[in-house]
């Protein structure tokens, strides 16, 4: 248990803190704030584990003690954190695929035509909010009516472009 429980417990604390803070006041730079929160929870958890292990004595069987137990717990927490942030990104912005499924489900026995889906999901719903996100995140700047990618945006997109070239795959989206 010492290898698994600390990572899971730290993730549970992270999720609870995330929900409470985001419901109270959603930060503007969500992912940077989430990264800071993730690192903070890890630091607090490690300190608490250290103190609790000493004070609980033999009852602290589920807490990490040796270096390999600490390293494994940190590795597990880091991996869970990455998958948690990945899941949260799907919560933050509406996914077109999921929206299509929900619209078709809402139509029930009548079903939906392609034209009805296109009418509900136009550029104002699917494209322009994401363009606004890029500008708000300083990945793109608006220069006299033209959208220009910033150095930060170039830095962010470069690994994706290179990786898709390795995979020999065309532009996604």
């Amino acid at each position: 248990m010492r290898f698994v429980a600390p990572g899971l417990l730290a993730l549970a604390v992270l999720i609870a803190a995330h929900v409470v803070i985001w419901r109270a006041r959603r930060p503007s730079g969500e992912y940077a704030a989430l990264a800071v929160l993730g690192a903070g929870v890890l630091a607090v958890a490690l300190t608490t584990f250290r103190i609790t292990a000493v004070s609980l004595g033999s009852a602290s069987g589920w807490l990490p003690r040796s270096p390999i137990e600490y390293v494994t717990a940190i590795g597990l927490y880091a991996a869970l954190f990455l998958s948690y942030v990945t899941t949260y990104s799907a919560v933050q912005a509406d996914s077109p695929t999921m929206t299509i499924l929900l619209l078709i489900e809402r139509a029930r026995a009548a079903g939906c035509t392609r034209a009805e889906l296109r009418a509900r999901l136009d550029d104002r719903v699917l494209v322009l909010p994401r363009l606004d996100d890029l500008v708000a995140g300083n990945l793109v700047r608006l220069d006299h009516g033209r959208y220009v990618v910033t150095s930060r945006g170039t830095l962010m997109i470069a690994p994706h472009i290179r990786f898709r070239r390795w995979l020999m795959m065309e532009k996604g989206g």
């Binding site: 698994v4 919560v91 077109p96 695929t97 499924l101 489900e105 494209v127 793109v140 945006g153 020999m168």
Partner: protein, 184 residues
């Protein structure tokens, strides 16, 4: 100090398995370009799992007390599975279907001149997005077409969509990002 370094090296085992997964995914994608993408990802994930087993068996036997061996194996497997989840949905799938990434690709290709809103919407628009998504949903059987109308097919992804709505309610207090400002 030696024990800490040895522990740190062992802690990298699931991350090395992820690297094996990515390398296998790239090699399979290049060697078999016609292979459906989800199959290429599955081959990569399986290759990583094999690498994890090969890398972990010996250290688990040496480093952990007999009672801890199973838990160390569980921890590394959980770590690996979480890393693969991140790789597939947080990295590979971003390049595959994320709108922000596609917009950045278009804008980067335009260079310092940039693009107007109209030019962007010529290169990438809602019609293309809906058609591409519908195509994938039909190919995967999540949606079926009858007489020009679409209906739910396999319900698994719909359950995922409902779960996301639930999470939106928990985190954002609304079922959609447009809940307070209706689209259109």
């Amino acid at each position: 100090m030696t024990a800490v370094l040895a522990a740190a090296a062992l802690g990298l085992v699931p991350f090395a398995a992820l690297l094996a997964c990515i390398v296998a995914h790239v090699l399979v994608s290049r060697a078999l370009p016609a292979l459906p993408r989800h199959r290429g990802v599955a081959v990569g994930a399986l290759a990583g799992l094999v690498a994890l087993a090969a890398l972990a068996l010996r250290p688990i036997g040496q480093a952990a007390a007999p009672g801890d061996r199973v838990w160390l194996g569980v921890a590394w497997t959980l770590t690996y599975v979480s890393l693969v989840y991140w790789y597939v949905f947080g990295f590979f799938n971003l390049g595959e279907s994320a709108r922000r990434i596609r917009l950045l690709v278009e804008l980067r290709a335009a260079g310092e001149r940039g693009l107007t809103r109209a030019e962007i919407l010529t290169a990438y628009n809602a019609r293309m997005i809906v058609d591409a998504r519908l195509g994938r949903l039909l190919a995967g059987g999540q949606v079926v077409e009858r007489d020009g109308r679409y209906f739910i097919g396999k319900p698994l992804m719909l359950c995922g969509a409902r779960a996301l709505v639930l999470l939106k309610l928990v985190f954002l207090g609304a079922p959609s990002e447009f809940a307070e400002r209706p689209p259109g």
